[in-house]
Symmetry: C2
Subunit: 287 residues, 2 copies
């Protein structure tokens, strides 16, 4: 099945005949009469089981962004992964639960075969310029992405090929030798592949690009699945425009692995060292 | 109004005639015929405007915990604060959006006067014992709570008196003198006041106990309001029982303040140095 999906990849927007980036194809939503949207999983973003979680997040967000009543830009997205998503069509149903003067609270559900497979909440807001400061700093002394090798994507699920990832520190294990490590912190460069100008949906998707911490900690694979992912958008439209198609500097770490669930947190920094998004998730694991 | 609320505090469960802890009173929910619950704000947990956000989170969670279809214990709660909550009655509507074999996905809404004032998602799960490891460590060389002074609560909103908070490092500013600080990291001991055995609802509420980072960073007050709060529960029932009524060791930090929104993250550690919960929030500010 992986082979078939890989073969399909080259038919879906990776050639010059099709001008649309596969990410835009994956996010393509058609308005329905009931206020929802029709969408379809995209083979270029397939994971081991179902689609890459980042795209599931991005689709939830995209439905809000395309909604005619949407006010402002996203400041937070929480996506809960309710059930495996099958390759095929789905519908997405965004609902503005509360609209205030400058913020709006959304509930969004993705439904497949009459059952909820993903659900989330989004807050959009109109930002106004005011006192602003960074507090955290990006990692220092990081070589530029062009000085680092790109992660080889052969034998990995299709979605991995949709990102150019370059490890600065421990983004991927040297080996899956089962040797338990004392910690699982990562630093890497990452951008869409092929390059694509950054927007909120892409940032939502990038929030899930990190290898599950347990793979690094145990240096062995495990059955895992993100249960819930929250992304805080620190970027506004100007910051997105300034970033363009460049690599983002990404960091990830975890706090605790306990009886089937672990957490991980990440930061996505612009090439100028500005925090674009911070992200947190809870992951189910079977060790 | 603050004075009135403070006077009321002593009528609502703080004396020997009433055996119920004010937190249990604040969480009291009565089942409705429509599957929802009736609740009421509690003056002992009043904040400057509306109730303390931690109790708003705890009420969303409590509605799920009391639901007859609930499966397992909470592993993640996201609460979005849609609008100010007025002192008075509300209804809470939990809905199981998806039930799997060992996980369950909930959407919960709190409604007041026909409008959504808070909404959230909860995932509950049945944990099974398996490979487990801590990764983060609690702060080292921390004096015990009894060696530190309790935060004086006079002139502060009523809810602050419902916690016993003892600063280990920078939990509260020495002065509100407007002198901008380079960072806002805190360590403190905290427990319910009066003491109460820890449970999931209390842990949800404690997740919001941290002073807004911007107060520490700028050493001045600002109009702020949590927009969204996510808590990952690392504790299971055994960890809660082991903690009992003891102080939790709590840490908090922020990453970025940008044009009206900042984030903060916290950790809640048991007295034995075990991570009980990690928590993240996005906060609106007017500087």
């Amino acid at each position: 099945m992986t082979v078939n999906l890989c073969a399909q990849r080259h038919d879906v927007g990776m050639n010059n005949a099709s001008p649309r980036h596969p990410f835009d194809q994956a996010l393509s939503l058609t308005a329905r009469a009931d206020g929802g949207f029709d969408g379809h999983t995209h083979p270029a973003y397939a994971n081991m089981v179902g689609p890459y979680g980042g795209v599931t997040c991005a689709v939830l967000l995209q439905a809000v962004l395309q909604h005619p009543q949407r006010l402002g830009d996203p400041v937070v997205l929480t996506a809960n992964f309710a059930a495996p998503i099958a390759q095929g069509p789905y519908t997405v149903h965004p609902r503005p639960a509360r609209t205030n003067r400058s913020t709006q609270h959304w509930v969004v559900e993705t439904v497949q075969n009459g059952e909820v497979v993903a659900l989330g909440t989004v807050v959009t807001a109109v930002r106004r310029p005011t006192w602003s400061r960074p507090e955290a700093r990006p990692p220092a002394d990081v070589p530029p992405p062009q000085d680092l090798p790109a992660l080889p994507t052969q034998a990995l699920p299709p979605w991995v090929s949709r990102y150019d990832m370059r490890s600065v520190h421990n983004a991927f294990p040297d080996a899956f030798d089962g040797e338990e490590q004392p910690e699982a912190r990562s630093v890497l460069w990452v951008r869409d592949e092929p390059p694509r100008p950054l927007d909120f949906a892409a940032l939502a998707s990038l929030s899930d690009c990190f290898l599950p911490r347990i793979f690094l900690r145990r240096r062995q694979r495990a059955l895992i699945g993100t249960v819930s992912l929250t992304t805080y958008f620190h970027a506004d439209a100007a910051a997105l425009a300034a970033q363009g198609e460049a690599h983002l500097l990404a960091t990830a770490r975890g706090l605790n692995y306990h009886d089937g669930f672990f957490d991980q947190s990440g930061e996505l920094w612009s090439r100028q060292g500005r925090l674009l998004a911070s992200t947190h998730q809870l992951v189910y694991y079977k060790a």
